[in-house]
Protein backbone atom coordinates (compact mmCIF):
# COMPACT_ATOMS: atom_id res chain seq x y z
CA UNK A 1 0.00 0.00 0.00
CA UNK A 2 1.27 3.42 -0.93
CA UNK A 3 2.29 5.71 1.91
CA UNK A 4 -0.10 8.57 2.62
CA UNK A 5 1.62 11.81 1.52
CA UNK A 6 3.44 13.67 4.22
CA UNK A 7 1.94 16.49 6.28
CA UNK A 8 4.97 18.67 5.60
CA UNK A 9 3.59 19.20 2.07
CA UNK A 10 0.42 20.75 3.51
CA UNK A 11 0.68 24.55 3.89
CA UNK A 12 -1.35 24.41 7.12
CA UNK A 13 1.53 22.52 8.70
CA UNK A 14 4.49 24.41 7.34
CA UNK A 15 5.06 26.34 10.57
CA UNK A 16 5.02 23.22 12.70
CA UNK A 17 8.39 21.75 13.55
CA UNK A 18 9.13 18.08 13.08
CA UNK A 19 8.11 17.11 16.62
CA UNK A 20 4.82 18.97 16.36
CA UNK A 21 4.02 17.33 13.04
CA UNK A 22 4.87 13.97 14.55
CA UNK A 23 2.55 14.72 17.48
CA UNK A 24 -0.27 15.45 15.08
CA UNK A 25 0.43 12.39 12.97
CA UNK A 26 0.33 10.20 16.02
CA UNK A 27 -3.16 11.44 16.90
CA UNK A 28 -4.54 11.19 13.42
CA UNK A 29 -5.29 8.17 11.35
CA UNK A 30 -4.77 7.81 7.61
CA UNK A 31 -8.04 7.44 5.78
CA UNK A 32 -8.97 6.97 2.15
CA UNK A 33 -12.17 7.93 0.35
CA UNK A 34 -13.18 6.54 -3.01
CA UNK A 35 -14.43 8.83 -5.78
CA UNK A 36 -18.06 9.67 -5.08
CA UNK A 37 -17.82 8.87 -1.38
CA UNK A 38 -19.32 11.37 1.07
CA UNK A 39 -16.86 12.84 3.60
CA UNK A 40 -19.40 15.10 5.32
CA UNK A 41 -23.15 15.26 4.83
CA UNK A 42 -24.96 18.59 5.17
CA UNK A 43 -26.81 18.73 8.48
CA UNK A 44 -25.08 15.60 9.83
CA UNK A 45 -22.34 15.51 12.48
CA UNK A 46 -18.93 16.98 11.60
CA UNK A 47 -16.79 15.51 14.32
CA UNK A 48 -13.50 15.08 12.54
CA UNK A 49 -11.03 17.33 10.88
CA UNK A 50 -9.51 15.91 7.71
CA UNK A 51 -6.19 17.07 6.37
CA UNK A 52 -6.46 16.09 2.72
CA UNK A 53 -3.08 15.23 1.25
CA UNK A 54 -4.13 14.02 -2.19
CA UNK A 55 -7.19 14.12 -4.44
CA UNK A 56 -10.02 16.58 -5.10
CA UNK A 57 -13.21 17.21 -3.14
CA UNK A 58 -16.40 19.06 -4.01
CA UNK A 59 -18.54 21.06 -1.62
CA UNK A 60 -22.32 21.04 -2.07
CA UNK A 61 -25.21 22.70 -0.36
CA UNK A 62 -28.99 22.43 -0.74
CA UNK A 63 -29.69 26.07 -1.43
CA UNK A 64 -33.11 25.63 -2.98
CA UNK A 65 -35.48 22.74 -2.29
CA UNK A 66 -34.70 19.74 -4.41
CA UNK A 67 -31.55 21.27 -5.89
CA UNK A 68 -27.97 20.71 -4.88
CA UNK A 69 -25.65 23.61 -5.57
CA UNK A 70 -21.93 23.10 -5.97
CA UNK A 71 -20.12 25.72 -3.92
CA UNK A 72 -16.52 24.81 -4.51
CA UNK A 73 -14.06 22.32 -5.93
CA UNK A 74 -10.99 22.03 -3.72
CA UNK A 75 -7.77 20.25 -4.53
CA UNK A 76 -5.31 18.78 -2.03
CA UNK A 77 -3.56 19.92 0.03
CA UNK A 78 -6.40 21.35 2.09
CA UNK A 79 -8.30 20.97 5.34
CA UNK A 80 -12.01 20.17 5.71
CA UNK A 81 -14.08 20.04 8.88
CA UNK A 82 -12.46 23.17 10.32
CA UNK A 83 -15.79 24.94 10.76
CA UNK A 84 -17.08 21.99 12.78
CA UNK A 85 -13.98 22.24 14.95
CA UNK A 86 -14.46 25.94 15.66
CA UNK A 87 -18.28 26.11 15.86
CA UNK A 88 -20.92 23.42 16.15
CA UNK A 89 -20.02 19.90 15.03
CA UNK A 90 -22.69 19.94 12.33
CA UNK A 91 -21.82 20.14 8.65
CA UNK A 92 -23.16 23.27 6.94
CA UNK A 93 -22.45 21.71 3.55
CA UNK A 94 -21.71 18.30 2.07
CA UNK A 95 -18.17 17.41 1.10
CA UNK A 96 -17.67 14.63 -1.43
CA UNK A 97 -14.57 12.96 -2.83
CA UNK A 98 -14.40 13.69 -6.54
CA UNK A 99 -11.36 11.50 -7.07
CA UNK A 100 -9.71 9.04 -4.75
CA UNK A 101 -8.83 11.10 -1.67
CA UNK A 102 -6.14 10.44 0.93
CA UNK A 103 -6.33 12.23 4.24
CA UNK A 104 -5.32 12.29 7.89
CA UNK A 105 -8.40 12.35 10.13
CA UNK A 106 -8.33 13.61 13.70
CA UNK A 107 -11.21 13.72 16.17
CA UNK A 108 -12.69 17.12 16.99
CA UNK A 109 -12.80 16.36 20.73
CA UNK A 110 -9.14 15.38 20.78
CA UNK A 111 -8.14 18.58 18.96
CA UNK A 112 -10.22 20.72 21.32
CA UNK A 113 -8.49 19.05 24.28
CA UNK A 114 -5.14 19.87 22.74
CA UNK A 115 -6.19 23.48 22.24
CA UNK A 116 -7.34 23.72 25.85
CA UNK A 117 -3.96 22.38 26.93
CA UNK A 118 -2.23 25.01 24.72
CA UNK A 119 -0.58 22.32 22.61
CA UNK A 120 1.72 24.21 20.21
CA UNK A 121 0.88 21.80 17.36
CA UNK A 122 -2.88 22.39 17.67
CA UNK A 123 -2.46 26.13 18.26
CA UNK A 124 -0.33 26.55 15.15
CA UNK A 125 -2.80 24.59 13.07
CA UNK A 126 -5.67 26.79 14.27
CA UNK A 127 -3.62 29.91 13.58
CA UNK A 128 -3.28 28.80 9.93
CA UNK A 129 -6.98 27.94 9.78
CA UNK A 130 -7.75 31.38 11.22
CA UNK A 131 -5.76 33.04 8.45
CA UNK A 132 -7.88 31.32 5.80
CA UNK A 133 -11.08 32.24 7.68
CA UNK A 134 -10.03 35.89 7.75
CA UNK A 135 -9.80 35.89 3.95
CA UNK A 136 -13.11 34.05 3.65
CA UNK A 137 -14.70 36.60 5.94
CA UNK A 138 -13.54 39.43 3.69
CA UNK A 139 -15.11 37.72 0.67
CA UNK A 140 -18.33 36.92 2.54
CA UNK A 141 -18.68 40.53 3.62
CA UNK A 142 -18.59 41.58 -0.01
CA UNK A 143 -21.21 38.97 -0.87
CA UNK A 144 -23.47 40.30 1.83
CA UNK A 145 -22.94 43.86 0.57
CA UNK A 146 -24.08 42.64 -2.83
CA UNK A 147 -27.14 40.94 -1.34
CA UNK A 148 -28.14 44.09 0.43
CA UNK A 149 -27.65 46.28 -2.63
CA UNK A 150 -29.69 43.93 -4.75
CA UNK A 151 -32.45 43.63 -2.19
CA UNK A 152 -32.67 47.39 -2.12
CA UNK A 153 -32.48 47.84 -5.87
CA UNK A 154 -34.96 45.13 -6.76
CA UNK A 155 -37.56 45.91 -4.09
CA UNK A 156 -40.88 46.28 -5.84
CA UNK A 157 -39.39 45.65 -9.27
CA UNK A 158 -39.18 42.58 -11.40
CA UNK A 159 -35.53 42.05 -12.16
CA UNK A 160 -33.42 39.23 -13.39
CA UNK A 161 -33.35 37.37 -10.10
CA UNK A 162 -31.99 34.19 -11.62
CA UNK A 163 -28.90 35.95 -12.90
CA UNK A 164 -28.31 37.56 -9.55
CA UNK A 165 -28.78 34.35 -7.67
CA UNK A 166 -26.31 32.50 -9.85
CA UNK A 167 -23.84 35.33 -9.50
CA UNK A 168 -24.20 35.27 -5.73
CA UNK A 169 -23.60 31.57 -5.60
CA UNK A 170 -20.60 31.87 -7.86
CA UNK A 171 -19.08 34.62 -5.74
CA UNK A 172 -19.60 32.70 -2.55
CA UNK A 173 -16.85 33.32 -0.07
CA UNK A 174 -16.22 29.66 0.58
Amino acid sequence: MRQTPDLSDVPFFEHLDEDERAEFEELSEPVRFEAGQRIFEEGAPEERLYVITSGTVEVYKSVLPGRRQRLATIEAPTVVGEMGLLTEPRAAASVEAMTMVEAHGVGRDRLLEMLDADSPAACKLVYEIGRTLAERMAATNETVAEVISRLENTAGRSEDIDVFRDQLIQDWGF
Partner: protein, 173 residues
Protein backbone atom coordinates in the same frame (compact mmCIF):
# COMPACT_ATOMS: atom_id res chain seq x y z
CA UNK B 1 -1.60 49.60 30.19
CA UNK B 2 -2.19 46.04 31.48
CA UNK B 3 -4.84 47.58 33.69
CA UNK B 4 -6.63 48.79 30.59
CA UNK B 5 -6.52 45.44 28.83
CA UNK B 6 -7.67 43.59 31.91
CA UNK B 7 -11.26 44.78 31.71
CA UNK B 8 -11.63 43.74 28.08
CA UNK B 9 -13.86 40.74 27.65
CA UNK B 10 -11.95 39.83 24.53
CA UNK B 11 -8.78 39.34 26.58
CA UNK B 12 -10.19 37.64 29.64
CA UNK B 13 -8.91 34.26 28.48
CA UNK B 14 -5.31 35.42 28.83
CA UNK B 15 -3.30 35.15 32.01
CA UNK B 16 -2.01 38.32 33.62
CA UNK B 17 1.47 37.70 32.20
CA UNK B 18 0.08 37.16 28.72
CA UNK B 19 -1.95 40.36 28.85
CA UNK B 20 1.24 42.10 29.81
CA UNK B 21 2.97 40.69 26.71
CA UNK B 22 0.27 42.24 24.54
CA UNK B 23 0.36 45.45 26.52
CA UNK B 24 4.08 45.80 25.82
CA UNK B 25 3.49 45.69 22.08
CA UNK B 26 0.44 47.93 22.07
CA UNK B 27 0.03 51.71 22.20
CA UNK B 28 -2.67 54.11 23.35
CA UNK B 29 -4.27 56.12 20.55
CA UNK B 30 -6.98 58.77 20.48
CA UNK B 31 -9.30 59.99 17.74
CA UNK B 32 -11.31 63.20 17.43
CA UNK B 33 -14.95 63.41 16.32
CA UNK B 34 -15.26 62.51 12.62
CA UNK B 35 -11.85 60.87 12.45
CA UNK B 36 -11.64 57.41 10.90
CA UNK B 37 -10.18 54.64 13.02
CA UNK B 38 -10.49 52.08 10.21
CA UNK B 39 -10.94 52.98 6.51
CA UNK B 40 -12.99 50.66 4.34
CA UNK B 41 -10.84 49.14 1.59
CA UNK B 42 -7.55 50.21 3.14
CA UNK B 43 -5.09 47.73 4.59
CA UNK B 44 -6.36 47.24 8.07
CA UNK B 45 -3.54 45.99 10.15
CA UNK B 46 -4.40 46.70 13.75
CA UNK B 47 -6.78 45.49 16.35
CA UNK B 48 -8.30 48.33 18.40
CA UNK B 49 -9.63 47.97 21.90
CA UNK B 50 -12.08 50.82 22.38
CA UNK B 51 -11.66 52.24 25.86
CA UNK B 52 -13.98 55.25 25.78
CA UNK B 53 -16.14 57.18 23.36
CA UNK B 54 -18.59 56.29 20.65
CA UNK B 55 -17.89 54.97 17.15
CA UNK B 56 -20.04 54.25 14.15
CA UNK B 57 -19.46 51.51 11.62
CA UNK B 58 -20.40 52.22 8.00
CA UNK B 59 -20.30 50.15 4.86
CA UNK B 60 -20.21 51.62 1.37
CA UNK B 61 -22.79 50.18 -1.01
CA UNK B 62 -22.93 50.42 -4.77
CA UNK B 63 -23.86 53.79 -6.24
CA UNK B 64 -21.83 55.75 -3.71
CA UNK B 65 -24.30 55.19 -0.91
CA UNK B 66 -23.30 54.02 2.53
CA UNK B 67 -25.17 52.32 5.30
CA UNK B 68 -24.82 52.52 9.05
CA UNK B 69 -24.10 49.04 10.36
CA UNK B 70 -23.56 49.67 14.03
CA UNK B 71 -22.96 52.25 16.72
CA UNK B 72 -20.64 51.14 19.48
CA UNK B 73 -20.52 52.87 22.85
CA UNK B 74 -17.22 51.94 24.50
CA UNK B 75 -18.46 53.05 27.90
CA UNK B 76 -20.92 50.16 27.85
CA UNK B 77 -18.18 47.55 27.99
CA UNK B 78 -15.00 47.83 26.03
CA UNK B 79 -15.17 46.49 22.53
CA UNK B 80 -12.70 45.22 20.01
CA UNK B 81 -12.70 46.22 16.32
CA UNK B 82 -10.41 45.19 13.50
CA UNK B 83 -9.45 41.76 14.83
CA UNK B 84 -9.63 40.21 11.35
CA UNK B 85 -6.68 42.39 10.31
CA UNK B 86 -4.34 40.52 12.64
CA UNK B 87 -4.88 37.27 10.76
CA UNK B 88 -5.77 38.31 7.22
CA UNK B 89 -4.39 40.75 4.70
CA UNK B 90 -7.59 41.79 2.91
CA UNK B 91 -8.67 45.40 3.20
CA UNK B 92 -11.17 46.53 5.83
CA UNK B 93 -14.79 45.66 5.02
CA UNK B 94 -16.22 48.74 6.67
CA UNK B 95 -15.25 52.16 7.99
CA UNK B 96 -15.11 52.75 11.73
CA UNK B 97 -15.40 56.45 12.60
CA UNK B 98 -15.12 58.23 15.92
CA UNK B 99 -18.38 60.03 16.75
CA UNK B 100 -16.88 61.86 19.74
CA UNK B 101 -13.50 61.73 21.46
CA UNK B 102 -12.39 58.10 21.33
CA UNK B 103 -9.60 56.52 23.29
CA UNK B 104 -8.32 53.15 22.23
CA UNK B 105 -5.45 50.72 22.49
CA UNK B 106 -3.87 49.64 19.24
CA UNK B 107 -2.28 46.22 18.79
CA UNK B 108 -0.46 46.27 15.43
CA UNK B 109 -0.33 43.23 13.16
CA UNK B 110 3.48 43.41 13.20
CA UNK B 111 3.49 42.95 17.00
CA UNK B 112 1.09 40.06 16.77
CA UNK B 113 2.99 38.35 13.94
CA UNK B 114 6.27 38.75 15.79
CA UNK B 115 4.73 37.03 18.80
CA UNK B 116 3.47 34.22 16.54
CA UNK B 117 6.94 33.83 14.99
CA UNK B 118 8.39 33.58 18.50
CA UNK B 119 5.87 30.86 19.33
CA UNK B 120 4.35 32.84 22.21
CA UNK B 121 1.24 31.08 23.61
CA UNK B 122 -0.52 34.43 24.14
CA UNK B 123 -0.53 35.09 20.39
CA UNK B 124 -1.88 31.62 19.61
CA UNK B 125 -4.58 31.95 22.24
CA UNK B 126 -5.67 35.22 20.67
CA UNK B 127 -5.65 33.71 17.18
CA UNK B 128 -7.76 30.75 18.41
CA UNK B 129 -10.19 33.25 19.86
CA UNK B 130 -10.34 35.30 16.64
CA UNK B 131 -10.66 32.14 14.51
CA UNK B 132 -13.67 31.03 16.58
CA UNK B 133 -15.28 34.45 16.28
CA UNK B 134 -14.73 34.46 12.51
CA UNK B 135 -16.02 30.88 12.13
CA UNK B 136 -19.23 31.70 14.02
CA UNK B 137 -19.86 34.83 11.97
CA UNK B 138 -19.10 33.02 8.72
CA UNK B 139 -21.51 30.22 9.55
CA UNK B 140 -24.24 32.73 10.33
CA UNK B 141 -23.58 34.88 7.28
CA UNK B 142 -23.45 31.86 4.99
CA UNK B 143 -26.83 30.72 6.30
CA UNK B 144 -28.23 34.18 5.78
CA UNK B 145 -26.95 34.42 2.25
CA UNK B 146 -28.66 31.09 1.58
CA UNK B 147 -31.81 32.53 3.08
CA UNK B 148 -31.46 35.63 0.91
CA UNK B 149 -31.25 33.43 -2.16
CA UNK B 150 -34.37 31.56 -1.07
CA UNK B 151 -36.19 34.78 -0.27
CA UNK B 152 -35.31 36.26 -3.61
CA UNK B 153 -36.62 33.10 -5.19
CA UNK B 154 -39.98 33.48 -3.49
CA UNK B 155 -39.95 37.24 -3.52
CA UNK B 156 -43.04 39.11 -2.60
CA UNK B 157 -44.05 36.82 0.23
CA UNK B 158 -41.82 38.17 2.97
CA UNK B 159 -41.03 41.35 4.80
CA UNK B 160 -37.94 42.44 2.88
CA UNK B 161 -37.09 45.29 5.19
CA UNK B 162 -36.87 43.10 8.28
CA UNK B 163 -34.82 40.58 6.39
CA UNK B 164 -32.42 43.23 5.16
CA UNK B 165 -32.01 44.65 8.65
CA UNK B 166 -31.12 41.26 10.00
CA UNK B 167 -28.40 40.81 7.40
CA UNK B 168 -27.00 44.16 8.38
CA UNK B 169 -27.13 43.50 12.11
CA UNK B 170 -25.06 40.36 11.80
CA UNK B 171 -22.36 42.02 9.79
CA UNK B 172 -18.77 41.53 10.77
CA UNK B 173 -16.33 44.42 10.81
Amino acid sequence: MEETLRGVRFFEFLTEEEREEFAEGSEPVSFGPGENIIDEGADQESLFVLVSGMVEVRKGLSGGRSRLLAEIDASRGRTVVGERGLLGESGASATVMAVDEVEAIRIPRATFRRMVAEGRPAAFKLSYRIARTLARRLTRLDEEVVEAIRELENRGETDMEAFRDRLITDWSV
